[in-house]
Amino acid sequence: MDKVTTIKSRTVVLPVENVDTDQIIPARFLKATSKAGLGSKLFADWRFAADGAPKADFVLNQPAAAGAAVLVAGDNFGCGSSREHAPWALCDYGFRAVVSTSIADIFRNNSLKNGLVPIVVDAATHARLLAAPGVEVTVDVAAQTLTLPDGTKAKFPIDPFARYCLLNGVDELEFLLSQEAAITAFEAKR
């Protein structure tokens, strides 16, 4: 995993609650055996009409969204299916952080393993972000802060180990493999 320390980007605002992973990447695109190229299918049924033409009213199809790496969405983002294809698609598209007032458990875990920072902010900060799409924000993973254009900092929670992995580009599997002796001892004791 690449190191993630600071993200400086404009936001894209998707003011919908309970965005489930079936919307992020519909199941018909899960037949891949690699994770490459899923960004082209991100939010496929919201982004494209049945004939494949982009839907002009969907936020990602608007010029202002180009290049933005921070997605701000309504409460309970990433609920439903455990498909890791959801963060793969978001990352492949170019997102580096997702901001909401709550984020579903499995999606949050999957995101952290792919360097996509799940950011849960307080309702007031969230309301400000929703009201001002496209503002430039700065995410500081070490400080666990999201900074708004006026300098206001919102603190967000992150598990210390996950933060360590993001900051140092460490894959959790490397750590688990280093615990081989403890795992063997546990198996012997049972």
Binding site: P15, V16, E17, N18, D20, D22, Q23, P26, A27, R28, L30, K31, A32, T33, S34, K35, D45, A50, G74, D75, N76, C79, G80, S81, S82, R83, E84, P87, S102, A104, D105, I106, N109, N110, K113, N114, D159, P160, F161, Y164, E172, L173, F175, L176, L177, Q179, E180, A182, I183, F186, E187
Partner: protein, 460 residues
Amino acid sequence: MFEKIWDAHLVRAASADTPAILYVDLHLVHEVTSPQAFTWLREKGLKVRRPERTVATMDHSTPTTPRGRDGRIPVLDNAAATQIAALEKNCADFGIELHALGTKGQGIVHVIGPELGLTQPGSVIVCGDSHTSTHGAFGALAFGIGTSEVSHVLATQSLLQNPSKTLAVTVDGKLRPGVTAKDLVLAVIARLGIGGGTGHVIEYRGSAIRALSMEERMTVCNMSIEAGARAGMIAPDDTTFAYLKGRPRAPTGAAWEQAVAAWRQLPSDEGATFDREEKLDASALEPMITYGTNPGMGIPISAAVPEPANPTAAKALKYMGLEAKQPLLGHKVDVVFIGSCTNSRLSDLRAAAGVMKGRRVADGVRVLVVPGSQQIKAAAEAEGLDRVFREAGAEWREAGCSMCIAMNGDQLSPGQYAVSTSNRNFEGRQGAGGRTFLASPLTAAAAAITGKITDARELT
């Protein structure tokens, strides 16, 4: 109970810097969320640490179309065929037991685990699928993981985990006739909301839960994730042990007695405290149905569509083509789907057949009945349920996830309405543009006969 199972599986307790390391007893694998994990293992030169604790099947992308003359199930979708072939190769290369398409043991991963007796009380069970919560019906700690974590468990049989909070859902009283376990869990999710269980493991308790069969308990635990909960659990009891006894992978002889004695220690102690508690009265419940685009949007079948409380709810009604205050009873239905890891077991098929026996499917309605496993299919055929469905005009299919996930050829057309016994009514879940009403097998079967949303208790 959660803490007891957690503590018994701690390879290493949490420290200030690292989460706990939790040992996994059983890792279930399917074709859709595993190929990348095996690729990473190969790239890193790793083996599967405990192949004997790993069991694979194929269910998500596999077709459920009838077998050809050669007895094989044809896979016409090239991408699905590639995925299926990848799982076959991965299982062969890494020494993993596979219940492949067309074999007697194949079926939906959350159906075959219990059926084989692999799912046992007190275990930690994971699978790259959110409905792994199903296995909690046995008093196991069972939860869905992503593909990265699938690779972690394959390589180390362990996971880094932070403990969840606990939520007791107590359901006392007696379900009325015609009100099922599916209605009970839809009522629980409607109470909690789709995100209401986030960060929690639910323990279902109370006299109404104790009275449920194992198949009904699986239906309840299965949908825990639809309230955002990581897992759902029910304390093991004599019902659990009677279900497990004699299953192929259940302990036998003295080992069985020992296991049961240990399992009897699992239930939460008298006076155990939970981070949160919710209570429901089973005797007040009606058959439930969803009207929106998440499983928390459920109402009693005779109720009217509620006023949308926010723009997201209004968007859901627009997608569903419904108006506030509109009754759902009598709404037209194009497709009925009876199946999925929620409601594809023998008792579900019997309930649906009981409604459909001697009746005909309404004109213009497509009805798919998809058994959860090849074993259920055989058992249903042995008692003539397939004939009941066929004679009524329904399709009797091979085992798999089918129209619950719509990545296998079974799907709705845009705009179609389905009454479905599955677990998710998200936009497009059953096919792009398709619109889903989640309900019990009884309600689904009644809709099949009338072509409309119908209270099965009033079908004459």
